[in-house]
Symmetry: C3
Subunit: 467 residues, 3 copies
């Protein structure tokens, strides 16, 4: 028999009481905390009619809902279908990819509403939530989905929930330091989502290093159909990324500009990915792994600067570079990281999120430092960088410096946090599978008897074909 089914022997992956307990207890905790803290923002509250009068708004269309809801839904699709299906490329881990991503994201958005709410939407003892909070919660969870990519196939659902709990917390802290203390701009999250999420995940997978993982090497590949499922994820991420980077920008030109910059960067990225995918393969054939992943690097890398005056050609240049960096990373860096640094990165998030995230942070710092009142207009300059109140006198070059500091802080918290969380996840109580059972849905899922099993029976022509 080819698929080893003795995982129960090597390690205890029995989830029956542990997983339900965690899910139920944590959900009860969410209900209690929401009951104590969470209420509707004025724009979602039935008192809105009065609010509207006070704010002198003449139309319901001025409700933030209409500015952001379409983008929210696009982001929502990216988190659940985009990340979920992108990870279905493994031949026998489709249920885990889509299903565990679903589970951790559903928990994560609730915890993120609380954590981010305490930091950013806390008024007289209550967290007031509206559509922007939903987007931010999805963003926060996005960083967890990224980290999940590094450990895909090697962890139990409980480990994923534990990681989500801690990572969301650290995300909120890091985000607070960047946005509120350093007054950094990062609307598309190159630093807060991608750099943080990726280096956090890479640190976790380093700590969880499995020396015998080659025992399940055969399952760590794709089959023809699983690669097509993964392309569903890729395309939804690619198409909706302009919404991602513009979702929480200022109303008006900023959202508009962020979408255009992202569209351009992503388009350029596809061409250099294809070029290098073909160039780096002896026979010149294209590799689906690159098309599925490196084409997205352009979206990551304009996350900070998309709402700034990066300009369309600036975006093309960023996308051009990132397609190359990311593809080269898949070919040379991933094997190196695994063999030398013992970083087993299932989805190659180092190439798709870590490096492009860093580039995105740097591009953002440069774009900010290069800003002038001439290019932005006097009002636009102040509005884009929010140079008001105590930041009234901050200059672009100072802002660039703070942006750079934001990268460093994100890295620091990612490494430190990842190390601690990795150590917690290493405890032998979470029910992860043995090395030879990694990348196999059968461990945590009821898997239907399917064609493959019929195929199995045919290997043994003596036995009768069972139903």
């Amino acid at each position: 028999m080819e698929r080893p089914r003795h995982q129960g022997m090597a390690k205890n992956t029995y989830m029956r009481w542990r997983l339900p307990l965690v899910c139920l207890l944590w959900e009860v905790a969410m209900i209690v905390l929401f009951g104590v803290f969470v209420r509707f923002s004025p724009e979602a509250d039935a008192h809105w009619e009065e609010e509207k009068r006070e704010m002198n708004l003449t139309s319901d269309i001025e409700n933030d809902f209409y500015f952001r809801y379409p983008s929210f839904q696009d982001v929502h699709v990216m988190i659940f279908v985009g990340f979920g299906f992108l990870m279905t490329f493994l031949k026998r881990y489709g249920f885990g990819a889509v299903g565990f991503n679903f589970l951790l994201a559903a928990f994560g958005i609730q915890w993120a509403l609380l954590m981010q709410g305490w930091f950013h939407s806390f008024k007289s003892g209550k967290i007031l939530i509206g559509v922007e909070n939903l987007i931010n919660a999805d963003f926060c969870v996005g960083s967890v989905c990224i980290a999940f990519g590094a450990i895909l196939g090697k962890t139990s659902p409980i480990q994923l929930l534990v990681m989500t709990l801690f990572q969301v917390t650290l995300f909120a802290v890091n985000e607070y330091i960047l946005l509120n203390l350093l007054h950094v701009k990062d609307a598309g999250g190159s630093m807060t989502i991608h750099t943080f999420g990726a280096y956090f995940g890479l640190t976790v997978t380093r700590i969880l290093y499995r020396p015998n993982l080659e025992q399940s090497k055969e399952k760590q590949g794709s089959v023809y159909h699983s690669d097509l499922f993964a392309m569903i994820g890729t395309l939804y991420l690619w198409m909706y990324w302009p919404s991602f980077n513009s979702a929480i920008s200022d109303h008006g030109d900023a959202q508009h500009r962020a979408a255009i910059n992202t569209y351009c960067s992503l388009a350029a990225c596809v061409l250099t990915t294809v070029a290098f995918s073909s160039m780096l393969q002896k026979k010149g054939k294209l590799d689906m792994v690159h098309i599925q992943n490196a084409t997205l690097a352009g979206g990551v890398a304009v996350g900070t600067s998309a709402e700034m005056m990066l300009t369309p050609y600036g975006s093309l240049i960023v996308g051009f570079i990132c397609g190359i960096v990311s593809t080269v990373g898949y070919v040379y860096l991933t094997p190196f990281l695994e063999s030398r640094l013992h970083i087993q990165d299932t989805c190659g998030i180092h190439n798709l999120h870590a490096m492009p995230g860093l580039i995105g942070g740097i591009v953002g710092a440069i774009t900010a430092a290069a800003a002038t009142e001439d290019v932005y207009g006097k009002e636009g300059f102040i509005k884009t960088f929010d140079f008001t109140g105590e930041y009234q006198t901050r200059t672009p070059s100072v802002q660039g410096g703070f942006q750079a500091a934001g990268i460093m802080v994100s890295l620091l918290i990612a490494f430190a946090g990842g190390a601690i969380v990795g150590a917690i996840l290493k405890l032998p109580i979470w029910g992860d599978a043995a090395a030879e059972n990694c990348f196999e849905d059968d461990v945590y899922w009821e898997v239907p008897e399917d064609e493959e099993s019929e195929v199995y029976h045919m290997h043994n022509p003596d036995k009768p074909a069972s139903p």
Copy 2:
């Protein structure tokens, strides 16, 4: 040969003249009725410039199109991709699931535009349609898609069209009684769509009871890939449900609030579904059937109350409960319904739509009865429950009573209508397949020779491998 192909012998499933005749005649009828009755609403008519002046609107953005079109498209995706792919879980009924859902929905939306139009948008002899009518037509068809889930794999396309014709008609009547006569609120359709659709479908499948269905039991399961296709349906339903429940709410805070409540309920529902899926299985493994279905119960169950001040924690509680109820239903109730009550429910709509729909109706009644001017604000209170005109003096507790009455009426019409329609569908003229050919696309579709057939040939190593 494993798949029986002698359906032609047992029953006449030949569609060549019957199906085209029904499709063409009915479509001609639609054209005639649309020609007589249907025109554009003022907001979609070229006279809008004048209308705008009369209504004192200063901007085109005030057109209802911009308030509702993004939600409409999300709902549209739910009906055609959501329901269609959710039902592809069967190993050999993917074409029928997606294709027949497509067919019945395409017919149903036309008939619904007429039926709902006569009841709600009829002015001086014409039905005036705009984007809200399109959403309502999709909603109405949603209830047919739900009923389709109960009889999936066991009926001919003609039966489905006949059922659609009657069910849309009854839906419109029930909706009219609830919304106009009882003045009930049900923006997300817990009662009108889910309770009505599910109990209608369950009654139909009871009438169509097939005692020998175990002959096709082997085909009534999934394979690995079909479960992934079904997850596409699940996720699109899950992600866009906030749009579903908010699509026809009042402009402004009501749409905003409905989306937030639904988002919260759905998130909680995922965690309790996972918990109980693992808990109720001996080996503690997760069951894809639960993840595909029970995770959606939270959306069903806030359909009535989402636009009210249910509050985020109230939504979490509803989602929490429904994930449990629905999963428990799949494990214990579905087998019971089949063996004892002879209700063969292919997709388990009793667990996903019927019970959560009832809960949704009850939650709506309670939330309405508990409403106070303090919580809603004086204006918000009147606006949310539409306590104007003849309903000016209705109190929350009376409203709660009428909401409860709405549940009863929906149930009554579903049972009575389902019984009559089931009897009609039982006539031996519609070309349904024999019991041993259920859940098999080959009956009504040209099915490509595929890998499976290659596999077949390999069972017979003596024969040469054919093309």
Copy 3:
């Protein structure tokens, strides 16, 4: 061995240096041209605050972004997921279908932004782009995706890029002649996108005629799963087509009306497609090819007239006819075109885009010719047909004549352009595959060892099953 792998012998399909060179050089050219020419439109520029004051706009919601961005995203999905997955029906060409569509579209939108920009958005030496330009670029690329359908499986990625370069150029010229010189209305592109794109592609495939294509006939079919993947493409095209036809219409009623007309036409089209699919097959079974394609013809055929007062029943009639024409085309015309005219049309774009596109042009001409001030209102009449400035005195019947002329011009440019581009693509330097290797991903892609290969090994029970 069943799949021939000796393509390298017959023809040189080695892409290693040619493909990267083309991708990189062209992307560099894009960057240079964008650097010289492309800037943000006022609504996406940071100077928008000042612009807003000048234009007397009181709210950010008046930014064109909020009128068009949701439709843009729907169109974006149609181009990348819709066309991409629609073409995955081939059993062994899923990577090429989705992947090459991705590549050519990513390049095409950049080049289209430039070409269309020079013609339509050129101000004081700069192309100023906003969300409407993004939509138009996607539209332009849509015509290339259509042409790709005719040559699917028979061309190298370089050929596709070359074709994209030329076709986008010709598209922009044709569009300029129609919209600016002839002052023709064509918001949904029946003429500019579908008629032009399809006849261009058909001419190209005629020039590239492969007499020995029956050598890969076996691969030119679908398997069960590939047909389901294709249905993802079909449904997204079908659902979002109302957004396609309304995306660049005038704000307000025109967008609203275009969406309703398209919704109606598509619904009717499904029923006649099903009717004729069953009627034209001996056993009366439905053919997936028809359901996947002909159901969309209704969207194509109201592309010109959707924003006019076509009325809902007029739309039903158009959809009714096109479902029939398209399905009949698949059954009788496609084989005829191949055997007699040597037009090998892989996806049957003649039935889905060419004929419905022509019908769409004609319906548009008639609808325009029949327009009256009574039906449109005085202001609506002028606004809908843009009868201002030098066109102030144009009458509906004259407009109808110009619309008809637009069809002719589109056909002419498609035939002439297709012939020239076909001749260029026939040069033996682009690396296309030999006839026996068509419709096979293995030529240009690293294809994972999958179930099928396992199946292969089982044909040879003597050999050990390899990993």
